[in-house]
């Protein structure tokens, strides 16, 4: 009997976490939240539909999709889903007292954190992509020309949202393994303040927020407070993508370093 490799242990723990999410409540909550967003965007799109020319109809459809992605995805789902799936992934095991079953296996703790991160990312991405494609198909069903013309924009928005989702999953996993007792509160504050509020600040402040870069990559208008007086700096797409990827890797690296030597709350049980 040889202990499983890092890759295979991560796969096994990923599968275990996916099973827990699939059979638990969180995935259902995530799917319901995503469903509400899709429904709201589609309802808004059809309630504002007017009898305009074909060209204008495509334009209106494009605007509806952009604003749907902006408010429904970039300002809500990309924050909510990683929080839901990753922020308390480890504290659940600790509070549920099931963590010793995993940490006593000869796989080390790195696959544990990686498996939880990947499971959260997969569920979040699944929800985002399913919702995005559904929103695109149903929202633009009334104007077949827009279905095709707007599709690249949809893919671009979904790609950027995916980058952000993975980044937020990494951040939530980092806090989950660093401070499992308070990871929910810390993740909520981080996402609400550093990502949501800061992305609305005027001028250069907003570049701190990954949300700004994600929205810019997704083709959203980078607005916010005093956008006209203090316009945000222009950041090239490659740099924005690099910053998000860098932040993701940094958060993951910290998570993996911390999890290797952590004793967690076993002492209090």
């Amino acid at each position: 009997m040889t202990p499983p490799s890092l890759f295979s242990a991560t796969g096994l723990l990923l599968r275990l976490q996916l099973t827990s999410l699939w059979r638990g409540r969180k995935l259902r909550v995530g799917m319901i939240a995503t469903g509400f967003v899709v429904f709201a965007v589609i309802a808004a799109r059809y309630s504002s539909q007017r009898d305009v020319g074909a060209e204008r109809a495509v334009e209106l459809a494009r605007e509806a999709m952009v604003s749907g992605f902006d408010w429904g995805f970039f300002r809500l789902l990309v924050l909510l889903l990683p929080f839901l799936f990753c922020a308390s992934s480890l504290s659940e095991e600790i509070e549920g007292r099931t963590l010793p079953f995993l940490t006593v296996r000869p796989v080390g703790r790195v696959p544990l954190a990686l498996g939880k991160f990947l499971a959260g990312a997969i569920c979040s991405l699944g929800c985002i992509w399913a919702a995005g494609i559904l929103m695109h198909l149903v929202g633009l069903a009334a104007s077949p020309a827009a279905l095709i013309e707007v599709f690249p924009d949809t893919l671009r928005a979904l790609g950027a949202a995916s980058l952000l989702v993975v980044c937020y999953c990494a951040i939530c996993t980092m806090w989950a393994v660093m401070i499992p007792d308070a990871s929910g509160v810390i993740c909520a504050l981080w996402l609400a303040i550093l990502e949501f509020v800061v992305s609305l600040l005027p001028g250069q402040f907003r570049v701190i927020s990954m949300a700004t870069h994600g929205r810019s990559l997704g083709g959203m208008e980078v607005g916010g407070w005093l956008a006209e007086q203090l316009p945000p700096p222009e950041v090239p797409a490659a740099i924005s993508a690099g910053l998000i990827a860098g932040m993701t890797l940094l958060a993951l690296l910290v998570a993996l370093l911390v999890v290797r030597g952590a004793e967690y709350r076993f002492s209090k049980a």
Partner: protein, 353 residues
């Protein structure tokens, strides 16, 4: 490397609280009962052995390896934690299979082993049901099945009989005895003494974070010369018997217990003989002669009381006056030391830890 648990001056503290203090021992194959009251440090020691915690001082070796974050050592360990916690959405078969796979078995092997392990603990009919619907005893057996599914050399069981019915207990104890017979070290923690007596007479007594004794119950018992032995005689004529036995050599006290007389003696063998002779000579009717000390209970309480004089856990830690002079020599159940082993306490006023 043969199955073994070795602790070398192992201590663990959480802030100002000392959970474990200077514990040294070496356990070989067999079943070892880890006894101690709640909060005595049993679970902390178990968790250090299982690689869940790092000792603050000293070290623990499992089959020669430090267990914390060490795959080589962890592969040899099976742990049944104390908490009644499982993945309730999973079936026992899924759970134990997943644990076997994490131990390094292929999917097919893992499932076969999981089935065999669950059958060994009597869960063959329920293994495909979700564990959320299990009774406490079934959950305990599922936890035990995952602990042994990979044939570990060291099996650590934290209160494994909690919530089990007599039938489950028999199943569990039988399975553990088979594992021990196959050469595994089974360390079994509990504060319910008869649980230990039912399965082994090799015990480790831990109190206030210190190992106060290690060895066979009767061996430890015989070393405690300063602890008077109790002999209880159940009779309908307690006053007459007491009057007859008042001059027995070695008896230091006598009291009337419910249904008879209880003697305290430093020479139990002579006391038994003399009582029996006097009973026959004077035709005193007796129902039975027993020794409450034969159970672990008396021994345990005595040793715990002794340890209570020393430094312990809680707010008094750090100002305790006692120093543990444990002399834990390597021993195994198969080759017991003739005198057992006693972790002596020296009370040295003014001497810090």
């Amino acid at each position: 490397m043969s199955a073994s648990i070795r602790a070398i001056r192992c201590s663990k503290w959480y802030g100002k609280v000392t959970a474990l203090q200077d514990v040294s021992l070496h356990l070989g194959p067999g079943i070892w009962g880890l006894l101690g009251p709640n909060g005595s440090g049993k679970t902390t020691f178990m968790r250090i052995c299982a690689g869940q915690l790092r000792p603050s001082l000293g070290e623990v070796q499992i089959c020669g390896e430090r267990p914390f974050n060490n795959s080589k050592a962890l592969a040899q360990i099976g742990l049944c934690p104390e908490a009644d916690a499982l993945y309730d959405q999973m079936s026992a078969l899924e759970f134990v299979t997943a644990m076997a796979r994490l131990s390094g078995f292929s999917a097919n092997d893992a499932e076969k082993r999981a089935k065999a392990s669950l059958e060994e603990f009597g869960l063959e009919d329920a293994m495909k049901r979700r564990m959320g619907g299990y009774s406490r005893g079934m959950r305990q057996r599922a936890k035990l099945a995952q602990a042994v599914v990979h044939d570990p050399k060291v099996i650590l069981l934290d209160e494994p009989l909690t919530g089990t019915d007599p039938r489950s207990r028999a199943t569990i104890l039988g399975a553990l005895q088979r594992k021990a017979a196959d050469g595994a070290v089974v360390m079994f923690s509990t504060h319910v003494l008869p649980e230990i007596e039912a399965i082994t007479d090799q015990v480790l007594l831990i109190a206030r974070g210190q190992l106060v004794a290690q060895g066979k119950v009767h061996e430890i018992r015989s070393l405690l010369e300063e602890h008077p032995h109790h002999v209880r005689v159940f009779t309908a004529e307690p006053r007459r018997l007491a009057a007859l036995c008042v001059d027995i050599e070695g008896v230091v006290a006598m009291s009337f217990a419910p249904g008879g007389v209880e003697f305290m003696t430093y020479d139990p063998a002579a006391t038994y003989q003399t009582i029996a002779r006097k009973v026959v000579e004077h035709e005193v009717e007796i129902d039975s002669i027993t020794s409450p000390d034969a159970s672990l209970e008396a021994l345990f309480h005595y040793l715990v009381e002794r340890a209570a004089h020393g430094a312990g856990t809680g707010s008094d830690a750090g100002v305790g006056r006692a120093r543990s002079l444990q002399q834990a020599n390597p021993r195994t159940q198969n080759a017991p030391h003739p005198e057992g082993q006693y972790a002596q306490q020296n009370y040295a006023p003014g001497e810090g830890q």
